[in-house]
Amino acid sequence: MEKRVVFRSAWLPYALLAPQIAVTIVFFFWPAAQAVWFSFQLQDAFGLRTEFVGLENFKALFADPHYLASFRTTAVFSALVAFWGIAISLLFATMADRVLRGALAYKTLLIWPYAVAPAVAGVLWAFLFAPSIGIVTYVLKRWGIDWNWIIQGDQAMLLIVIASVWKQISYNFLFFLAGLQSIPKSLIEAAAIDGAGPMRRFWTVVFPLLSPTTFFLLVVNIVYAFFDTFGVIDATTQGGPAQATQILVYKVYYDGVKAADLGGSSAQSVILMAIVIALTAVQFRFVEKRVQYS
């Protein structure tokens, strides 16, 4: 789509674009190019000498069991976050779409966690689950469950999944609610007249019609679990215990900032960039499809 009526000026459009383009070049393209460049280099321990090593950093990464474990951790973590975040918010949205009384109050009370920073969400849940003083830990111990996420990797993973899902429910909920409200009531009425009960109607009519929203949210939630949960992890487990919660983004940060391994961290950055590009491409193909349908 193009505008029929346009203005003419030899310099004005460039001046209007200049701030955005300048920020983009200085803080996006230049650093990204450097990340690619560094990923082909090896620095000695004192940062005095750098040497071009081609794909050595990448080879070293894929031979490193910690890096491969980080891939698996990320996959498990993002699958859990996406699945539970979507399932729970779909349940809430379906219920909120049914009720007439108090719908706005429910909505307001369910969306506020969107405003909570991931790091703060992590601190809140870490406090509830704190091994010695947490209130939830206390209840779990009464039930005979030995809870200590500082030592046990699975429990640390569970903690960051809970905190991340809790923060993301509000977002998914709003999109599902909007999706549900755009489903024509006549379709559901027709199914009801044909004798389909509420469960049957949900699985055969509503859920298939929601599939574009669900797919969109799946991609968004995976991106969220990959990148935005950095704060949750850094404020709670810091990748531990024994790297049980070290997702890819946390490892880039840890190796680059804490361990000062420039080449290895940059190679990981490059791999992450490839993952983001793939995810964005998937998202956009989906957006194009949705436009065609509507």
């Binding site: 009526v5 030899a10 983009t24 010695s132 709003l174 900032v257 960039m273 983001v276």
Partner: protein, 282 residues
């Protein structure tokens, strides 16, 4: 309502009430903890009824911060967070609205090239270019400055898209009329386009304010002086060790203070918030 099923309605309310309570539970415990003495929290199980230390804890963190770990006053951190959130929200909206104006209302060489350049930034989140971006900011002498906290984050593909989308729906007749009346492009922008964009701007503002307020990785990298900490960073800096060593009552008071401004923005500007959320993700 398709049919009347009282049992199902009751079930819906029950699920929603349980959901609301489960979602609110961490917030409630946080608030309670922020009104207790440290000894009361340490005596397992901690009480679940607010204590009498509300004023003491909150005035302590606002004026002087924690007593172990970070000692920066939380009022300074809240100020820094406000500056960061406002500068990012206003900066993003400003540079994006003029960029989309140029892309939609002008024809010029490399127009599509610039558009794609902005678009590609979607694929380069700060998390994947941590160290080189840090280096650039450090070379420019912007560590521990407000400029360093905000300028690298104000490029926005989503905001540019949103405004472009919106400008496309503005009738051509308006621009034509402006041109016939002899108004230049900037006059048209100020007097016609900007007033029409008010709702889009409000929607974006809510989303970007929260985005800016909740930034974590970026301020963590570039602020090393306590006077430049944001509230979110301040909380993680107050966590000094094992869970029994932390001053949980003060940390929780800080957490409440750090959550309050963005939560108020979401609740009070709910209409624009929902609009902004749905539209920026299109």
């Amino acid at each position: 309502m398709i049919e009347n099923r009282p049992a199902l309605t009751v079930l819906s309310h029950a699920v929603l009430i349980l959901g609301v309570l489960a979602v609110a539970f961490p917030l409630y415990v946080t608030f309670v903890a922020s009104t207790l003495r440290l000894e009361e929290i340490m005596s397992v199980p901690m009480p679940l009824i607010p204590g009498d230390q509300f004023l003491a804890n909150y005035s302590q963190v606002l004026a002087a911060g924690g007593t172990t770990g970070s000692k920066a006053p939380v009022s300074t951190m809240l100020f820094n967070s406000t500056v960061m959130a406002l500068a990012i929200a206003i900066g993003k909206i400003t540079i994006s609205i003029i960029a989309s104006f140029a892309i939609v209302y002008f024809r010029f060489p490399f127009r599509n090239f610039f558009f794609w350049m902005i678009f590609v930034t979607l694929m380069l989140p700060v998390e994947v270019r941590i160290i080189p971006t840090f280096k650039v900011v450090s070379d420019l002498g912007m560590l521990n400055t407000y400029a360093g906290l905000t300028v690298p984050l104000i490029a926005s593909a989503t905001a540019t898209f949103l405004f472009r989308q919106f400008f496309m729906t503005v009738p051509d007749e308006l621009a034509e009329a402006a041109r016939v009346d002899g108004a230049g492009p900037m006059r048209f922008f100020w007097d016609v386009l900007l007033p029409l964009s008010k709702t889009s701007i409000a929607a974006l503002f809510v989303i970007q304010f929260i985005y800016g307020w909740n930034q974590y990785l970026w301020p963590l990298l570039i602020t090393s002086e306590e006077s430049m900490y944001t509230a979110v960073i301040g909380i993680s800096r107050m966590l000094v060790g094992g869970d029994a060593a932390n001053e949980w009552n003060l940390i929780m008071a800080t957490a409440i203070l750090a959550m309050l401004p963005p939560a108020l923005v979401v609740i009070l500007m709910q209409r624009w918030f929902v609009k902004g959320l749905v539209e920026t993700e299109k």
